[in-house]
């Protein structure tokens, strides 16, 4: 196996050495890549000659090639290895080999060095710059099986921890952590803005219903004991039409769906393991959009499904249904807004993934107050408007209302200052 690896390494090194456009640099820096090197140095720790302590920063240059900047100083060298301009190197494995053994022939590499490399290279911390991904959060960089990956936005250091999850079609996707443990979103998403949106949307237990598509006595018992309102629909192939009747009366409310996912559908199996019904997740999402119901999909890898509407909340892992219900009950009873709700419902075993356009279709009714009467807030509103939480909230609020000297207050929770109210207060004060 190791011999095979040596041969492979030799072929790789030769092929890279033959390429003309790129450079494997052992000098202090590469001309033209100074800004990239500066960004890399700000995120990497001090140089090391221990491969197990190595870190690797990656960004994409204007030609579409990847720039690799490590803090690893290889044998007999004084500077850390850097790689630029190789269109061939879009695989982190290949970059790692060239960082560890720059310019060396495979026959010169000692077995002990190779062993150390093989033992540690998958644990090397990789920091991916935002340029590695396109606006959809996709990339052609291959970084399969690396567990210690983080994502860096240039305007938002330090890098956020990430999660790589399987999309179910043999491709993997990188998600950036939006908040503490364990809420994630696509890397191209402005994380702060998403959290703001979640904080602005109040969580109302009375306006949240649960539909369980799981046939399991332990799970059912836990749900029965809880105070979460349930939707009981016949678990047959008419689920969608039955559910639509319920959704008509749920406009503006939240529906949590707990189910077992196979491929792109919720599949309902009886106790013998036989499939008795299924619901396509995207059809369920379309239905919820049609009736303006916020859907929270608690199903294995629901986050992996591409959604045309892209405003869902899903899970990026396989999880236990009873564990999910326990977390849901805890969140249901102790959350004031959706940031809290999702924070409470997520765990290392149940990472939650939120889509970029989450709550974009949800309208929040707000009252307008004159800025002059700020000290006597909520006394006499000058009007009421419906504010859609879509796009950039700050921009929307400022563009439409900022110049009119108004303060926006959520009328439903005037007495206890809702997160929406607080967020809007902050916006006005900043203004």
């Amino acid at each position: 196996m190791k011999k095979l690896y040596r041969i492979l390494l030799l072929i790789i090194l030769i092929s890279v050495a033959n390429a003309n456009a790129g450079v494997i640099c052992l000098n202090p820096g590469i001309a033209g890549f100074e800004p990239a090197a500066k960004r890399a140095k700000s995120l990497l720790t001090s140089p090391t000659n221990q491969f197990k302590s190595a870190k690797l920063y990656i960004e994409k240059d204007i030609d579409g090639d990847f720039y690799y900047h490590s803090n690893y100083i290889s044998r007999d060298q004084t500077n850390a290895t850097k790689i630029a301009g190789f269109s061939e190197i879009n695989d982190v494995d290949l970059a790692m080999q060239n960082i560890a053994f720059p310019g060396r022939k495979a026959t010169d590499i000692k077995q002990v060095e190779l062993d150390e490399f093989m033992q540690n290279y998958k644990d090397v911390e990789i920091i991916l710059d935002q340029s590695v991904f396109n606006s959809k959060g996709e990339t052609n960089l291959k970084f399969r099986d690396y567990s210690n990956v983080s994502y860096s936005r240039r305007d938002d250091p330090p890098p956020a921890p990430t999660l790589v999850y399987n999309r179910g079609n043999n491709t993997k996707k990188l998600l950036a952590r939006t908040e503490k443990c364990c809420i994630y979103s696509e890397v191209a998403t402005p994380q702060k803005q998403i959290m703001k949106k979640l904080q602005m949307k109040s969580y109302k237990p009375k306006e949240t219903k649960l539909m369980s598509l799981i046939i399991d006595s332990s799970t059912e018992k836990a749900i029965k004991k809880s105070n979460i309102k349930g939707i009981s629909v016949e678990l047959d192939n008419n689920i969608l039409s039955n559910l639509e009747k319920e959704m008509v009366q749920m406009k503006g409310q939240t529906l949590v769906v707990l189910g077992h996912v196979e491929r792109d559908s919720y599949v309902i199996r009886n106790a013998m393991g036989n499939e008795i019904a299924s619901v396509e997740i995207n059809k369920l999402r379309e239905l919820s959009n049609k009736h303006k119901v916020q859907l929270i999909d608690i199903g294995c890898n629901t986050a992996a499904l591409p959604s045309s509407q892209s405003n869902s909340i899903g899970v990026a892992a396989r999880f236990n249904s009873l564990h999910a219900v326990e977390l849901l009950i805890k969140s249901h009873n102790s959350s004031k807004n959706y940031a809290e709700f999702l924070h409470n419902i997520s765990s290392k075993n149940m990472p939650i993934v939120i889509d970029t356009k989450i709550f974009d279709h949800v309208d929040v009714k707000v009252k307008l107050f004159s800025k002059r009467s700020w000290s006597n807030m909520v006394k006499k509103p000058v009007g009421t408007v419906s504010l859609t939480l879509g796009g950039s909230i700050t921009e929307t609020a400022m563009t439409n209302y900022g110049n009119q000297e108004v303060v926006l207050v959520n009328p439903r929770e005037q007495d206890e200052k809702s997160p929406l109210q607080r967020a809007l207060e902050r916006m006005v004060r900043e203004d």
Partner: protein, 228 residues
């Protein structure tokens, strides 16, 4: 090589096990380390297609046999509780009916009491009849009225007890004589389905779970249930 099957759930068997007290539960769990997280209550929401090798199927069969033993005991205890409830309800109903019949039969009038007294006693007896009818109905009621009354639960559970004994004997025989895994897969699936029904019915008898947790040696009881 493994047997490729869509799924071989044991979640309902686990749900029965989960009603035992912590030490007994962990004793049984420790016997089946090969089952990993499948022995946790709830179901794992993920792709179900899996390769079950012969060893895992055999472990699941041994687990099913063990849990069916507990289910047999649960059902027996539930039937005892239900039976006494039915008897109590019948007694209340009988007394009420006697009272109502006496109250409306004119017997009191024949005894020579005054008209007013007769009217009062008759009214009280009629009221007693109505109340007893309500009380007996209440005694027969289960937790969830959707799943029927206690008589239905009794009938269902009696059948399920026999089915559990039959399945357990069958599984044990297949394990002992090392017959094909396909038969075991069917028996495990049927056991899981049966345990769901037993769970549903025994859930109607909340006193049961407390009683079961007090029992130290359930194995002897199981053997008795099987007539050994």
């Amino acid at each position: 090589m493994g047997l490729e099957i869509d799924s071989l759930p044991i979640n309902e068997l686990v749900a029965i096990l989960n009603e035992l007290d912590t030490s007994k539960k962990s004793n049984i769990k420790n016997k089946f380390p090969e089952l990993g997280d499948e022995i946790d209550p709830g179901v794992w929401a993920g792709e179900n297609v899996c390769i079950e090798n012969g060893e895992i199927i055999l472990t699941k069969a041994r687990f099913a046999s063990e849990v069916l033993g507990i289910a047999i005991l649960h059902s027996k205890e539930a039937l005892k509780i239900i039976s006494s409830k039915i008897q109590r309800a019948n007694k209340i109903r009988l007394l009420g009916q006697i009272g109502a019949v006496v109250g409306s039969s004119g017997t009191i009038l024949a005894m020579g009491f005054g008209k007013e007294t007769v009217a009062q006693v008759s009214a009280v007896l009629a009221l007693f009849g109505s109340i007893s009818s309500i009380l007996s109905a209440h005694t027969e009621k289960t937790i969830s009225t959707k799943t029927g009354n206690i008589n239905e639960v009794y009938l269902n559970l009696s059948g399920q007890l026999q089915e559990a004994i039959f399945l357990r004997n069958n599984i044990n025989a297949h394990i002992q004589y090392k017959s094909g895994t396909t038969e075991l897969v069917n028996l495990i699936s049927m056991s899981n389905e049966l345990c769901r029904k037993i769970n549903k019915n025994t859930l109607q008898v909340p006193q049961l779970w407390h009683k079961i947790s007090e029992i130290e040696e359930y194995k002897n009881e199981i053997l008795m249930a099987e007539g050994k």
